[in-house]
């Protein structure tokens, strides 16, 4: 099975979305870096194989698995039941909050302030779906909404002023706000009532492989690797409530 295949091949093809800092991005030497990339490396080390990090867009995550280009995707994949019909999810390994980021002039206090603003998000993400669902429920219509091919395009769009606000994850927003390009931007309200619980994904029928990955995730917490990676990319220890949510969701 897949586990044997990887071990025999001696290389782990690990898919990561590399325009989603700090989970995945390119450093100034154009090398992959980020929380997810560290997880890939940890996984490779655990397996005793080399790691080949593949750069994916959101939309490519599943095709890359189905097509066998990747053995595993550590790419902040939200664990919806619809998707679970197609791919196998591990236990959650991270939880995001969906948040708004906008220019400070827009002065967004609540999620409902988005009503007449131009809002964007990356195509095919859960927060896109969540925003659209909320917008429809509120009767805002779709005209003010723009979807972007990738997370980076969304930030570029916000930066250039194509849209007034975008929806992204709290982690990504926090990272962006620390760079001077986004000095004039502020983080806004969270998307109401939604925790984005994400897992590692692999082929649905590779049960043994998914088992292995599950244990790997547990050990990441237990062995302190998670804390180390979190420190490296978020500058603090893993918050206790994140650990708790991960345990609860297991």
């Amino acid at each position: 099975d897949q586990l044997d295949t990887v071990i025999q091949r001696g290389t782990l093809n690990c898919g990561v979305v590399l325009d989603f800092p700090p989970m995945g991005y390119f450093d100034e030497n154009n090398n992959p870096a980020g929380f997810d990339v560290d997880y890939c490396n940890d996984l490779g080390e655990a397996l005793g194989v080399d790691v080949n990090v593949l750069n994916l867009t959101w939309g490519e995550r599943i095709p890359s698995l189905v097509s066998g280009k990747t053995d595993v995707v550590i790419g902040s994949t939200s664990d919806t039941l619809e998707r679970a019909k197609t791919v196998g999810f591990t236990y959650p390994y991270f939880v995001f909050k969906f948040q708004v980021i906008a220019h400070e002039d827009k002065n967004i206090q609540s999620f409902d302030d988005l009503k007449n603003l131009k809002v964007g998000a990356a195509l095919g993400t859960t927060y896109e779906t969540e925003y659209l669902a909320y917008a429809e429920q509120q009767g805002w219509g779709k005209d003010n909404y723009t979807s972007f091919k990738s997370e980076n395009d969304a930030y570029l769009g916000l930066y250039q002023g194509k849209v007034d606000a975008i929806i992204s994850t709290n982690t990504n927003i926090a990272t962006k706000l620390r760079s001077e390009e986004f000095d004039d931007f502020v983080a806004g309200p969270y998307v109401p009532n939604y925790d984005d619980v994400v897992g590692i994904i692999a082929k649905r029928d590779e049960v043994a492989w998914i088992n292995y990955l599950n244990l790997f995730l547990v050990r990441q917490i237990r062995d302190g690797n998670m804390n180390e990676a979190y420190n490296k990319h978020f500058g603090t220890d893993v918050p206790a409530d994140l650990i708790k949510t991960l345990r609860d969701n297991k």
């Binding site: 959101w58 939309g59 599943i62 095709p63 189905v66 919806t80 619809e82 998707r83 019909k85 197609t86 791919v87 195509l123 095919g124 993400t125 896109e128 779906t129 723009t146 979807s147 972007f148 091919k149 395009d153 570029l156 769009g157 250039q160 002023g161 194509k162 029928d205």
Partner: protein
């Protein structure tokens, strides 16, 4: 092959796909119409003796013909964005397609015009027609016949290239397909259906165009 096909989810989302197909058709028709209008102006400008006009036309034509469509679309979207000009994905794709269509059609029009033997013009003049009458009754109708086929091809090309809308998050057929597949992760199913829909659209367009040609051009060249 151990892939299990799930077609249900595709059929549930058929209305959205059809809507995407409509947007595809919409943007390509518009891109074609605007492209034709601009191409006529550019072709006239190119054959004009005023250097400025013919140079502007030449630059347009050469850039449109010698750079990838994908580049044009990025340029219209993020390139112009750097100047604070913000086009919606729809407008970006539309303007890129118009830009390219105009570039290619300019050459088509010019070629079509030059392929009408000048003797047709002298023959018309010798019958006492004014220049305008000669163009309107004799040159243009014949030219239209010759450029009709290349124009149809350009239209089909526009339809196919509008699929690049997927890259700027436009909700045409490809973009819609991409969104739907990322929700359910049924990549193969959705893209197969999209491929079939593109095939049908282009076949319908070609069929319609040959029907129209038969009505328009009873005489042969």
């Amino acid at each position: 092959m151990d892939y299990e096909f799930h077609w249900n989810v595709v059929f549930q989302n058929m209305p959205q796909l059809l809507n995407g197909a409509f947007v595809t058709l919409h943007v390509s028709v518009l891109a074609m119409l605007l492209g034709i209008v601009i191409a006529i102006l550019l072709a006239i400008a190119k054959m004009n003796n005023t250097k400025f006009f013919s140079q502007v036309a030449t630059v347009w034509v050469e850039i449109a013909r010698n750079t990838p469509a994908l580049f044009q679309i990025y340029m219209a979207y993020f390139g112009l964005g750097a100047f604070g000009i913000h086009l919606s994905p729809y407008a970006a794709v539309l303007s890129a397609l118009v830009f390219i269509n105009a570039g290619y059609l300019t050459e088509t029009f010019r070629g079509g015009f030059q392929s009408i033997p000048s003797t047709q013009y002298s023959a018309s003049k010798s019958l006492g027609m004014t220049s305008f009458q000669a163009y309107w009754h004799i040159i243009l109708p014949q030219m239209l016949r010759r450029i009709y086929h290349p124009m149809t091809n350009q239209f089909v090309w526009s339809i196919l290239m509008s699929s690049l809308g997927i890259l700027v998050g436009m909700s045409e057929l490809s973009g819609t397909t991409q969104r739907l597949q990322s929700l359910s992760f049924r990549t193969l199913e959705f893209f197969i259906v999209a491929a079939v829909m593109y095939f049908i659209i282009t076949k319908l367009v070609l069929f319609g165009s040959s029907l129209l040609a038969r009505r328009l051009f009873k005489g042969e060249i």
